[in-house]
């Protein structure tokens, strides 16, 4: 059977043999990573749950400083905005 890519708090509760409210507490305490779909709906990527079970979740660490380099170009290759009047002329 193919594994589900995302789990619900109820799925996790079943797997860990704990209550759903305990799972929700762990999510709120950021012990289990979850996607907050809305105030009451959480989705847990299966990969996150595997990391949790294996004790391999990462704690945030300050990112290292890189070496000096030329500034990156953000938005490169993307079309620039065209004003409505110009766009109308182009369409004409």
């Amino acid at each position: 059977m193919q594994k589900k890519p995302f789990l619900t708090p109820a799925d996790i509760a079943l797997e860990l043999d704990i209550s759903t409210s305990t799972v929700l507490r762990k999510i709120h305490a950021q012990e289990i990573p979850a996607i907050v779909v809305s105030e009451r709906i959480y989705r847990i990527p299966a990969a996150s749950f595997e990391l949790y079970k294996a004790g391999r979740l990462k704690r945030a660490q300050p990112a290292p400083l890189g070496r000096p380099r030329p500034r990156h170009r953000i938005g490169e290759g993307e079309s620039k905005p065209v004003a409505a009047g110009v766009a109308a002329l182009r369409r004409a």
């Binding site: 890519p5 995302f6 990573p33 996607i35 907050v36 779909v37 990527p45 299966a46 990969a47 996150s48 595997e50 990391l51 979740l57 990462k58 704690r59 945030a60 660490q61 300050p62 990112a63 290292p64 400083l65 890189g66 070496r67 000096p68 380099r69 030329p70 500034r71 990156h72 953000i74 938005g75 993307e78 079309s79 620039k80 905005p81 065209v82 004003a83 409505a84 766009a87």
Partner: protein
């Protein structure tokens, strides 16, 4: 505005969030640029279907010196390309003068229900940060159905 240690912490936070969702990418660095600004860029591959390619989140930001050792964010590019579902969502802030002059907004969004076939080149957007972008992208991740591009306001 943020100090360099704060920016390092912020980038470390974003990385940990994505790693803990199972994303794969090398440790990103906060890079000093030759014009005195700082920034970062990295692409994280998400777990799940890898056909035709894994879904990807790309994060880029640039911060320029402001005052008293603090830096102000001046550009960003947050992109979510979900190849398995053939679609894209993005939040951008770049070429700000052009967008302000033409549309009176500094930021814009992209939305492609079918990858590389946008119904509109640029959509009106609201400012967002890296945390917000990851949250918005991961809500969409792996969920079939429309992205909701038609509900956005096209700039052109």
């Amino acid at each position: 505005m943020a100090t360099i240690p704060e920016l390092r912490g912020y980038l470390g936070d974003l990385s940990a969030i994505l790693w803990n969702f199972g994303a794969v990418f090398p440790t990103p660095t906060l890079d000093p640029y030759d014009d005195g600004s700082y920034g970062f860029e990295f692409s994280a591959l998400l777990p799940g279907s890898a056909a035709p390619k894994p879904a990807m989140i790309k994060m880029m930001e640039t911060w320029e010196p402001a005052r008293a050792g603090r830096y102000a964010q001046v550009e960003y590019e947050y992109d979510f390309v979900e190849y398995p579902l053939d679609r894209r969502r993005a939040f951008h802030r770049h070429d700000e003068e052009d967008f302000l002059r033409e549309f009176g907004v500094a930021v814009h969004e992209h939305c492609e229900e079918v990858l590389k076939k946008p119904a509109c080149d640029h959509y009106m957007g609201l400012p967002i940060d890296g945390y917000g972008a990851i949250q918005r992208f991961t809500i969409l991740w792996g969920q079939p159905g429309p992205l909701g591009c038609s509900a956005l306001r096209c700039m052109q």
